[in-house]
Symmetry: C2
Subunit: 355 residues, 2 copies
């Protein structure tokens, strides 16, 4: 085994390590640090408008000449049910009152924001775009590929991986159930659940069913996880939680600390924060909102309804009222810098391969 | 990397491959075939009385001189709530009527049966016992260890692994969420859930927190899974579903076929068949009984209430009314013999290690 793979060649990087586009927690410093260390940094641009994306890309291009990626959330059909939003606002009232916050105005310009971000990626010459929550339309895929931009999709099942391949994606992130943050799922299984397949099962089954390279994600925190993923047939890994607690990450001290104090059994999958299922550390907000699960407005509506509450609670040091995305391996998290984390992975990989 | 490990030395076997004790589906031929191929076969004796266990052990000892194991279900406190049993019998009435079955008489002699099985293992000189659903009392552990019998516990979280180590277990099976059949859990996380940690996350976190050897389980089906598990720090693997579809397995053709036709997204965790959470292929019985989830009698009561229905339905070729335990990697299942499966793993491991 060696570091060079189909993915490192495709992306023109040295190491098969991709930092996940953790919307809300990436910084230009983190992205550049990962890329300068030989991996691929990713701007988590899921919540950005194109101006914000423009300034982040510009800043990163000052910090590195090496490739990096932008991660975008593919808009999905959403139901705006005024009654549900009204109910949700009533349920959220005590939180807003306690934090002295106004009811937000809902803005559903997701599609436009997405299209503008795609254009911005092209304009700024970003070499890689990864997608979460589905597959963009063919116009967008063709437009990106025509500029030699590498497009990477996300799949949580074999069916989703095949759909990505058919749509022309250059590679697929296979997101196992261990992964923290949003599930990338865009299909449902029986009983209306989103797929929750462990990385050990998901990676080889996707590898066997597509021809494009597979990038393993979910529970990978160190050299052991990287080598194990490559053994399962992945051509690279994507790591989120491992980079979230790093020095350069934009996560707050409260958030990083919560992960470092957590056990592997502390996370749950919940839609209460954003309207899309995501894995985070269980807390009071999740418990209180669990009863309303069926009435939760779709993403991005719920995200906008709870955003200020989460932000303000976190600023006040209240970890019970904010999202604390984490994968299932918080015991393996480290407070070191992204470059130290990558150096540790290289060293551990060499040790494993020499055994 | 090589095949010799702390577990192969401890168990006096050649390959770090353990066939899981799949209660209801192991046969003497399967157990002996795995052991004769260099792994460790296991009698799934969870539902056996000591007479049945006696005859199985005797038969296996005729087929092999090599070590094999017995897997036992540790009795747990159970609530017999007559009202719940009455309700369940009412819900099950249409199934019994359709299949022409009587209401069964409930027998709660679990503890006695377990103690007699432990004595039988000692009497017959079986070298290894593994436990599911908890940790037996110190008298039993000490009695087994005094006869140089190796004792192996099952853990689905770091906490459960530490409890097994403290109790004196010689090794621990780390059962990831991908695993088919019963969850070995004996603790609950917040929200009264049993732990569901993916193998990629569970194995390294347990390895880092105990000193005894760890055996990885969950989603492991071939050489890729075996090597990946060893890279994560496991000293051996335990495979269930992979052996369930093998020629020597006691699973019916209906059952084997259901697994081979399944996708990775087809399984769910359910208590409706036995009263304990287990992973199996979703079907009509699970859907229909889902609504009664809170009222389901504890194991072994629910197991006894549904046993005849499942058995008779399966005999009649009805896969909708029987349990179809499977892990999350059914696409990787093979109809070959257990010895061919093991030969394939050896070959694939060599290929991976030479790359």
């Amino acid at each position: 085994m060696h570091f060079s793979s189909k993915v490192t060649q495709m992306l023109n990087i040295k190491l098969p390590i991709i930092q996940a586009g953790m919307a809300g927690s990436t910084t230009p410093e983190l992205v550049a640090s990962v890329s300068n260390s030989g991996g691929l940094g990713t701007i988590g641009a899921g919540y950005f408008n194109s101006e914000k994306l423009d300034s982040e890309i510009t800043y990163i291009q000052e910090l590195t000449d090496l490739p990096f990626a932008v991660n975008l959330f593919v808009p999905s059909e959403q139901l705006y049910i005024p009654e549900n939003v009204e109910h949700m606002n009533a349920w959220l009232k005590p939180y807003r009152k306690a934090l002295n916050l106004e009811e937000p105005v809902i803005d559903i310009s997701e599609e436009q924001q997405f299209n503008e971000s795609v254009d911005m990626v092209i304009e700024k010459g970003v070499p890689v775009v990864s997608f979460t929550f589905g597959i963009p339309n063919q116009n967008i895929i063709k437009k990106l590929k025509a500029r030699q931009i590498t497009v990477i999709g996300t799949a949580t099942s074999v069916e989703e991986a095949k759909a990505n391949e058919s749509a022309g994606m250059d590679a697929i992130i296979a997101q196992g159930s261990e992964a923290g943050g949003h599930r990338g799922s865009f299909t449902v299984t029986s009983g209306d659940h989103t797929p929750l397949i462990g990385t050990m099962s998901l990676v080889p089954q996707i590898v066997d069913n597509v021809s494009i390279p597979v990038i393993a994600a979910g529970g990978i925190m160190d050299g052991r996880g990287v080598v194990a993923s490559m053994v399962l047939g992945a051509e690279a890994v994507q790591m989120g939680t491992a980079f979230l607690t790093s020095e350069e990450s934009g996560a707050s001290a409260l958030y990083k600390n919560a992960i470092q104090q957590s056990k592997e059994t502390d996370t749950v999958i919940t839609k209460v924060f954003t309207g899309k299922p995501a894995r985070g550390i269980d807390n009071e907000f999740i418990h209180k909102m669990e009863g309303y699960d069926d009435d939760i407005p779709d993403y991005p509506i719920q995200n906008q309804l709870t955003k200020n509450i989460r932000k303000t609670a976190a600023d006040l040091g209240n970890e019970q009222w904010t999202h604390l995305w984490s994968g299932q391996s918080p015991r393996l998290s480290q407070p070191s810098s992204a470059s130290e984390l990558i150096a540790d992975i290289i060293q551990e990989t060499k040790r494993i391969l020499n055994e």
